[in-house]
């Protein structure tokens, strides 16, 4: 009834062939998503209930919740330790990435040549890709021939860096931050530019400048952007395994759940069932963290803007 009495929907405004193209595109996209996104995720849950090894010719049995029991008992102590490593990594990446990106966005939001050049440089690691980023960091922090050691060596400081229990995790966090900093910064710049300049002009007339201006105006008005960046950083770091694989292979306190699941499934043990159960837990963890986090951040947005 509403459709008859009200305006026609946007879809109805399109000609029949155009609608065909539109729905065809949607159908193909949906098919790909179901086939390569949803189906593997469902299969992963099924595999986690088996002793599937992925080895050609090996029989597979349904093992119920055995894999999960293994993880949550003393049989697999590395799993509980990896939850601690994951928490360290996620918190470290989220805090540092957002803090540094916000500071950079604040400084580089201008239109001058220097700001533009620096923005490009900050964005560059995303273009480079994970493998190149990993190799660059390994070369920089090579304890024998890397430039960082060469500089620190003058002060008598020696470290194994990515081979050190103390430094491997902080450096891995920094590498992850460096890789994603550009994207987070660009989102923050978008948020900063969306704030009407009149607000700042009015505030300036009232004598509000510097830190007060940031705390009372910029920060609350950026609440929606903060929600986006924090959510991306949390989910992105929760599921990271590829950069860690290149930098440390999960050694020296960097054995996050992502890399542990990968190595369990595809390493020498070839235990895809157990690895799949870890990735199911990772998925649940991502949901359990992301949903309340988004709810909290959205509540915060409403509170700040009220």
């Amino acid at each position: 009834m509403a459709r008859r009495s009200g305006k026609p929907s946007n879809v109805r405004l399109l000609s029949r062939p155009s609608r065909l193209v539109m729905w065809g595109g949607v159908a193909i996209g949906l098919a790909f998503f179901l086939l390569f996104g949803i189906a593997p995720a469902v299969a992963n849950i099924a595999i986690s209930l088996t002793d599937y090894s992925g080895l050609a010719g090996a029989s597979t049995s349904f093992t119920g919740l055995d894999n999960y029991t293994t993880l949550f008992t003393t049989q697999w102590p590395g799993f509980v330790a990896s939850l601690g490593d994951t928490l360290y990594f996620v918190v470290g990446v989220t805090v540092v990435q957002n803090a540094v990106a916000l500071a950079l966005a604040h400084r580089l939001q201008g239109t001058g040549r220097t700001a533009t050049l620096l923005r490009i440089l900050a964005f560059l690691p995303i273009v480079l890709g994970v493998t190149v980023v990993g190799i660059v960091w390994l070369l920089m922090f090579d304890p024998q021939s890397g430039p960082v050691q060469a500089i620190l060596g003058h002060a008598g400081i020696h470290s194994a860096f990515f081979g050190s229990d103390t430094w491997a995790m902080p450096l891995t966090i920094l590498a992850q931050v460096w890789q994603n900093l550009g994207f987070t910064m660009v989102v923050f710049i978008g948020g900063l530019k969306a704030i009407p300049p009149e607000i700042f002009e009015a505030a300036a007339i009232d004598g509000v400048t510097g830190w007060q201006r940031f705390r009372r105006l910029t920060w609350p008005l950026m609440a929606a952007v903060v929600t986006v960046n924090v959510t991306f950083a949390v989910i992105g770091s929760l599921t990271t395994y590829n950069l860690i694989y290149i930098l440390t292979d999960g050694q020296f306190g960097t054995n996050t759940l992502g890399i542990l699941a990968f190595n369990t499934a595809f390493g020498n043990t070839a235990d895809l069932g157990l690895g799949a159960s870890m990735s199911v837990i990772l998925l649940l963890l991502a949901i359990l963290v992301a949903l309340p986090l988004v709810a909290f951040l959205q509540h915060r947005e409403r509170r700040l803007l009220a």
């Binding site: 065909l20 065809g24 010719g57 024998q144 050691q149 470290s159 860096f161 229990d165 020498n268």
Partner: protein
């Protein structure tokens, strides 16, 4: 009106053509996926006269160089055959993934492995076997025992790769793992190669007292923790603990439960590892394993803990360097201190290889005396053919009487498989020892963890 209808038909045709194009592309992509999958799993016959032969291996510069050269000669002899050599970095990580996917999809003709078939676990099951063992015992690899060249293999090669009377792999040779030293440095500091543990410690203290900050070089960075197992733990276990396993190998004794991980000898093994770590360069856990030959060639340390496969790279980096070698002495009994003689790169032909006949042709070519000699000389590996030689590799000169000699690590270290508890899996076992070497775990704590996770056969 006419114009409008024409435009409408034209738009409709374009729209339908668009849908058709997108659908075709999607179908082609899906067809591509399915065709590669089915193609990979179907082939087993093949044509030995022409086609593409795919071999996969890990990045091991001397072996890859030798195989590249041999493949060129193979292609020159058989112009209609192209050999594709695919490599992946790190045998324990990147290559392990490539190997598994290639075997599962039967997308390679010849695969290479470094895990040994023997000794098999007392009760072989999917979870107690390594992937290589599983494939070997489950008919994934072709039987090579009927190939004409198989009769030229020595006992080590046959014993190492035989299961139920089937020869499931061609062992390319044996590498020694021991200590290499710079002869010029030893002359300069007036020291000689040690034969016992006490002499070794005295030697390293002497070097330190003469200003050598790092007497011994080792690189465990970039995921080379397995070197702790191979270069240090195995020779120490062999010299200190194996003599206690009367009438059986140490591996058998541990599997049967006749010996336990928390024995005083294993504690001594770990104590000596901890002591040895004090003489390594301070950042050995982060130093890239790939850089070890260069570091030694550049005289960053007078001694290098390594495998003989790296001697080719040492020679390349410093052609004038005079290198000697000795077994890492874990014991004060000189006779007990033997180098590790580790079976190395092994070729296997997949039973479902896209072109099995081509693979067999390449294997016959590889094992022909002149080509195999070329491989031995280029890689520095110790040969496994009954006849052949003399060999002129740099490693044969450096190792001298030790060339091809040593104990089989499979007699010392039992299967560390998914069937074992966390700390007794191949990945975690050396990591715990790294913690001991770094001082964050005591030897007593480590052996208790090994024992509590250990499941006897």
């Amino acid at each position: 009106m006419q114009l409008s209808r024409t435009l409408g038909r034209s738009r409709r045709r374009r729209a339908l053509a668009g849908i058709a194009a997108v659908t075709t592309l999607g179908a082609a992509a899906l067809a591509g996926c399915s065709s590669s999958g089915s193609g990979g799993s179907s082939g087993s016959g093949g044509n030995a006269d022409s086609g593409t032969l795919k071999i996969i291996t890990w990045v091991n510069p001397p072996a890859v160089s030798a195989l590249t050269a041999i493949n060129k000669e193979f292609e020159a002899k058989y112009p209609k055959i192209h050999v594709q050599l695919q490599t992946a970095v790190n045998v324990a990580t990147g290559y392990a993934n490539l190997l598994q996917t290639s075997v599962n999809s039967s997308s390679a003709d010849i695969v290479t492995t470094v895990d040994q078939l023997q000794p098999l676990p007392l009760n072989p099951t999917r979870k107690s076997e390594t992937p290589t063992q599983f494939w070997s015992t489950n008919n994934v690899f072709a039987d090579l025992s009927t190939q004409p060249w198989a009769k030229n293999l020595n006992d080590t090669a046959v014993k190492a790769e035989t299961y139920n009377g089937k020869l499931v792999g061609l062992l390319s040779g044996v590498y020694q793992e021991l200590v290499f030293y710079n002869k010029a440095d030893f002359t300069k500091y007036g020291v000689t190669p040690p034969k016992t543990w006490d002499e070794f410690i005295t030697l390293m203290n002497t070097l330190k007292s003469k200003g050598v900050s790092s007497p011994l070089w080792l690189g465990l960075g970039s995921g080379a923790s397995v070197y702790v197992t191979r270069f240090i733990a195995e020779p120490f276990m062999n010299s200190l603990w194996a003599p206690k396993a009367s009438g059986e190998t140490l591996a058998q004794a541990l599997e049967k439960g006749d010996l336990k991980w928390n024995s005083p000898e294993m504690i001594q093994v770990l104590q000596r590892e901890q002591q040895l770590a004090k003489y390594l360069e301070p950042s050995y856990t982060g130093a890239a394993w790939q850089d070890m030959p260069n570091a030694f060639a550049q005289d960053k340390a007078p001694m290098l803990l390594d495998g003989s496969w790296d001697l080719t790279s040492v020679q390349k980096a410093n052609p004038t360097m005079q290198v000697g070698s000795f077994a890492l002495p874990g014991s004060n009994d000189p006779a007990a201190n033997q180098p590790v003689a580790n079976q190395d790169l092994t070729f296997e032909v997949l039973n479902k290889a896209p072109d099995k006949a081509l693979a067999m042709k390449w294997m016959a070519f590889f094992t022909s005396p002149a080509i195999y000699k070329q491989y031995v000389n280029m890689t520095g590996i110790s040969p496994i053919m009954k006849s052949g030689g003399p060999y002129s590799s740099f490693s044969s000169k450096v190792l001298g009487p030790l060339f091809g000699q040593g104990f089989n690590p499979g007699d010392v270290l039992p299967a560390l498989s998914a069937d074992q508890g966390y700390w007794d899996t191949a990945t975690q076992w050396p990591l715990l020892q790294e913690s001991v070497m770094a001082g964050s775990k005591t030897p007593q704590q480590a052996v208790a963890m090994y024992q509590s996770d250990w499941k006897t056969g």
